[in-house]
Amino acid sequence: MKKYFSFFRLRLAMGLQYRTAAIAGLVTQFFWGFMLIGAYRAFYESNPSAFPMSFQAMVSYIWLQQAFLAVFITWRYDEDIFTMITDGGISYELARPVDLYGMWYAKNLAMRLSEAMLRFAPVLLLAMVLPHPFRLGRPASAAHFFLFLLTMVVGLLLTVAFLMIIYGLAMKTISPTGVRLFFPAIVEFMSGQIIPIPFFPEKLRKIAELLPFAGMQNVPLRIYSGDLSGTPMVTAVVLQFFWLLVFLGIGKLLLSSAEKRAVVQGG
């Protein structure tokens, strides 16, 4: 266990040394959030009754999404892993007494956390002092806040478990290009990253809420403001845990079978 924690620590240190990237990211996320809220406000003002969430819940959704972008974003891969699959650097990974799954999982987790740690606080602080319609509201209740934190952690674990499946598929097909083109658009949309799931047409919304991707960010972001509450919230949390276990299982199987048929490219 200690060695996986060491990977985590090293990757964390690596992420923290890129200060300029963090500042640039921060500025982007702040303006992006501002712009999104502006756009949704225009929709809201033209017809508030057609708006599927309260405006306040929408604002919280966007600010939390921007602040924790590095935690939630589905298409943020560890490029090192793809490189080592393509050029054969994977040799070194396999020549050491480490479990490939554990090591890659720890690396991805650390990469996301290091990026998030540098970015979330300034975005949240700014969002809390903005003038009224743009301001980040308080959580619906202490219980909602606690569940928001919990589901955000599970969402992160779920997202990384999903990435592990992508890495496993890339290892099997010896090239990441296919899987990288195929998955991101669907997953990004279904996780509620582009528009929140309540804005989906009724039938699509029902399907999306059952799929694993909703648990990646739709669930925590809506629990905070109380937009997701009561029985639907409990169902969503149970589903999130269920999918986490399923993804962990699939990824683990995929990687160990890919390991057995490993192909080292490039001599």
Binding site: K2, K3, F5, S6, F7, L10, A13, M14, Q17, D87, G88, G89, S91, Y92, L94, A95, R96, P97, V98, D99, K260, R261, A262, V263, V264, G266, G267
Partner: protein, 272 residues
């Protein structure tokens, strides 16, 4: 003790001709050819030896090293190293081996070399005293003092190779695999690497298995030479079996390849 018997490893290669028509055809129908990288390879290596694996490009040397170090599964045959089946007992076996692939790096690109070493300490569960002792020894032998605080990406190739060698020995492995450790190095660095490998072998009785195209590496290091060609063991002997009077080692080697029909012209015919 390393024991290899009748090891076979094949790769599938999708082949197609060049040009638009061929490319389009290959889109619908692929022709696969099997390449036998290892075709019944057998040999034994006793503990504490330095063995040079020789052979032209594509002979199967690297494949052999990757099977011996637990990275690749063979299709068939028996492999046993120090009582382990490398690819099956990968997690336990890899504690006992060190590897250096000359064309790749095991150091973390963005952090100082010392950080990579600290990580290796945890990966191999190296006790503090062993780690410190080894690191001290490596630092002295390979002159690493200044390099330990330098990020890996800013090392020259020669410096990096010194750091790679140290990295592969921190956990006191019993077997060391070196796949082209002197590739691209200048004369001084080559000499340093050779001296170091000899020192380690003498001091710790580490078995060293080395692949290289540099005949001077072999001359300086290996008592024993194994020639691999077309996936088979062709010679198990010493350099004197290859050396010819009045010729350089490289010339002798080419002549040797020619005699056993391993020269490049032959290989090109194969590809056509």
């Amino acid at each position: 003790m390393i024991h290899l018997e009748n090891v076979v490893k094949t790769y599938k290669v999708a082949r197609r001709g060049t040009g638009t028509r061929e490319t389009l055809r290959a889109f619908f129908r692929r022709d696969y050819t099997e390449i036998r990288a290892l075709d019944g390879l057998s040999f034994d290596i006793p503990d504490g030896e330095i063995v040079g694996l020789l052979g032209p490009n594509g002979a199967g040397k690297s494949t052999a090293i990757k099977i011996l170090s637990g990275i690749l599964y063979p299709d068939s045959g028996t492999v046993e190293c120090n009582g382990f089946v490398p690819y099956k007992d990968r997690m336990r076996y890899t504690r006992e081996i060190g590897v250096v692939f000359g064309q790749r790096t095991q150091l973390f690109w963005d952090v100082p070399v010392g950080d990579s070493y600290a990580l290796l300490k945890d990966i191999y569960d190296i006790p503090d005293d062993v780690f410190n002792e080894n690191l001290e020894e490596m630092t002295a032998l390979l002159r690493l003092e200044k390099l330990l605080t330098t990020p890996a990406r800013q090392l020259s190739l020669g410096q990096r190779m010194r750091c790679e060698l140290a990295a592969s020995l921190l956990h006191s492995p019993k077997i060391l695999f070196l796949d082209e450790p002197t590739i691209g190095l200048d004369a001084a660095s080559k000499l340093a690497v050779r001296k170091f490998v000899r020192d380690v072998n003498e001091r710790r009785q580490t078995t060293v298995i080395l692949t290289t195209h540099d005949m001077q590496d072999v001359e300086a290091l290996s008592e024993r030479v194994m020639m691999i060609g077309k996936g088979k063991l062709l010679l198990n002997g010493t350099l004197s079996d290859i050396r010819r009077e009045g010729e350089s080692l490289d010339e002798s080697l080419v002549e040797f390849y020619r005699q056993i029909e391993l020269d490049n012209r032959e290989e090109e015919e194969d590809l056509s």
